[in-house]
Symmetry: C2
Subunit: 410 residues, 2 copies
């Protein structure tokens, strides 16, 4: 047999080694941010594609506009105006593979090795991974039940400025935050923006979950409050249609859009998907969102009720008004990641809190996603999880544990 | 009005500035590599999607496998085996946005600033742009009517080795090359591989045009001749279905796949498109490819015949056996890029040859793509182009022009 060629010495010094996940999943899968699988609007998407393809199918013979399908971007302009109070033109929008591609490309054009980027502590693990991939120095901003604490952000920026650090941007999910489920109130959004102005730091607002609102009003986007072009904005249809369609957007001022297009060397966003989604959303967006919100509200309630039934008072958890996540905190000193395999043995998946923390805190917390399973499955999964935790001693404060941090997550 | 925020000082030092193209196109658009717009299999794709979505639509609620749709990769394994003589497993394939995303990510994991990459001189402008984006030192390998000249490749590698340069890989489009239309014969493929073995340099084989074969047999893929895992391989459905569906693949040994997935931070390839294309190709690939080849053969013949009718003997052009391109060479000393605007004024688009050349040669050549227009339009477009060239003096050798290079392109 021929000697195999060794690629290892050739790999670029800037790219990380192979670190593929094993991908083990539980039947009761509270680990990953899936929406409700029964709600994928299969018939509506197919009908929309049938009609769109008859009308504009030949257009697929040419490469899509670099910024993506025009009709879809026009629809987004309307949606951003009506739902989020934003003023943008279709030229300010770049379509891509989910919000993930937008976030990655924005990081790519902004982050040099060692640059500081601020995020909520804790924050979406995908963004954290991407920032680390670009060798950013990610610092966590302390949060409470209402998201980023403005005073803490200002203190952090003051300190970093004194240290002479370059802060490239503040990444935030202000609405139904991943993983903590919080909503940043309007007053804090304004304060956050004023602080960004004062320290001359742009904001990257991730609004991925905004349509999954189960009670009360949602504050306007931070982007809508900004009159200086200092806020970048990303989102996707992963939560209102399905992650598999891989359609998202990045919004920014022209200088950012131009840079972004120069690193987005993939020939444009998928026109087939954009065509179908554009027409489907024009026909059925409001009714479909109402429908999935009703389903997800029921699932959230099922999980909250099961937590109340099976989990002891030594644990705390959030009661989110939207989104997909409940943030569960075990007693002080308990290591939530220690039971992951045991939980998977009982067919239950969850995500340890420490995975979401730039500072490596939140060791005794974990994230539960209620989107994927049925309410009955959720109840059974939470029952099994409580059983594993009880058996493994996770409900009791660890003896000899370190004293609580001044500001624990919640 | 508020002072606008200035992003310029924040951009990463590794990313190029905004350089958006103006996008001016002619009615007779021989500039861009579009396939035949009438051949986009609209009904077939729609029917396939209708059936696929009923069967596997719910699967879109979860994120796609990082390497992309399983069924599509299984189909590719069959196609590679039957058509290209390759032995690969579905785990060796990563789906992405066209072949462009694969090429970009492979460059990203392999190229450090200043690394040498070898390509045909001349070569696909998209790859050239991507390599320059990663600051590769791109060197052109001299070619003739049969593609890369093995002796020239070996001489170049010998010289670069003597200079102590790191050569990261050889990028080649061996079949229906873009822009020159050549096919590398089997014997040269074997020689190329032996040289790659001798100098320990991997090959990136771009097989984007292989299905557009209008006469004679196509030699097997270089990948199929390699038993050391030294050849990476990319391709797409852009030419057999449509660029707008944005589906392509990168194939490589596991070490390359693992690295690639670590920089492909976009949540996976489009499942909606992959689902439809997978089922469509399983149903109609062979008949559809026969059909588009018949149409494109007619277009090629129309362009060759119009060139014969309207262009003088002072010009030379290739007679490709497949693909989408004719490479036209004006008399020595003429600058083919000088007439681009004038041609667009006559509604004709073409791509100056110098755009494709790593060494900046081929100044008196240009690329004509015959895929987009109808045969009648092609005839009229070539007539207009000849009129512009005649009027502008492009058919006469420039007075005082430099003597011909020892090895001009053809």
């Amino acid at each position: 047999m021929a000697k195999k060629f060794d690629f290892e010495p050739l790999f670029s010094k800037d790219t990380p080694a192979d670190a593929r996940a094993t991908g083990k999943r539980g039947k009761y899968d509270f680990a990953v941010a899936y929406p409700d699988p029964e709600s994928v609007p299969i018939d509506g998407l197919w009908q929309a594609l049938r009609d769109a393809i008859q009308k504009e199918g030949k257009g697929m013979a040419i490469y899509p506009p670099p910024q993506g399908h025009v009709g879809m971007r026009e629809l987004l302009v309307e949606k951003f105006t009506e739902d989020r109070g934003m003023k943008v033109a279709k030229e300010d929008i770049v379509l891509g593979n989910g919000s993930g591609q937008g976030i990655t490309l924005l990081c790519q054009i902004l982050v040099n090795q060692g640059d500081v980027v601020l995020t909520e502590d804790n924050v979406y693990v995908g963004t954290l991974r991407t920032l680390r991939r670009f060798k950013a120095d990610v610092r966590g901003i302390p949060t409470d039940d209402n998201g980023i604490i403005p005073e803490e952000l200002e203190a952090l920026l003051k300190q970093l400025t004194a240290e002479g650090k370059t802060v490239k941007f503040i990444y935030t999910i202000p609405t139904f935050q991943n993983p903590m489920g919080s909503v940043l109130p309007l007053e804090r959004r304004k304060q956050l923006l004023q602080i960004a102005y004062k320290y001359n730091v742009p904001i990257m607002e991730d609004d991925c979950y905004v349509d999954l609102a189960y009670e009360g009003d949602v504050p306007p986007a931070i982007h809508s409050l900004d009159d200086r072009g200092q806020v970048m904005y990303v989102g996707s249809v992963s939560k209102i249609i399905a992650p598999g369609v891989r359609l998202g957007w990045a919004v920014g001022p022209q200088s950012v859009v131009g840079r972004l297009l120069n690193v987005k060397l993939d020939g444009g966003a998928n026109e087939l998907a954009a065509m179908a989604i554009n027409l489907y959303l024009r026909r059925e967006m409001d009714s479909h969102i109402s429908e999935i919100c009703a389903i997800l509200r029921e699932k959230r309630d099922a999980m909250l009720s099961a937590l109340g039934e099976y989990f002891p008072p030594s644990c705390k958890w959030t009661k989110p008004k939207g989104g997909l996540f409940i943030w569960l905190t075990l007693p002080e000193g308990v290591d939530a990641s220690a039971f992951r395999e045991k939980a998977l043995d009982a067919d239950v998946g969850y995500m340890p809190g420490v995975n979401f923390s730039p500072s490596g805190q939140a060791k005794n917390s974990l994230r539960l996603c209620f989107g994927f399973n049925t309410p009955d499955e959720i109840k059974e999964g939470i029952r099994r999880l409580a059983e594993v935790f009880e058996r493994e001693g996770a409900f009791k404060q660890a003896s000899g544990s370190a004293p609580a941090r001044k500001r624990s997550v919640r």
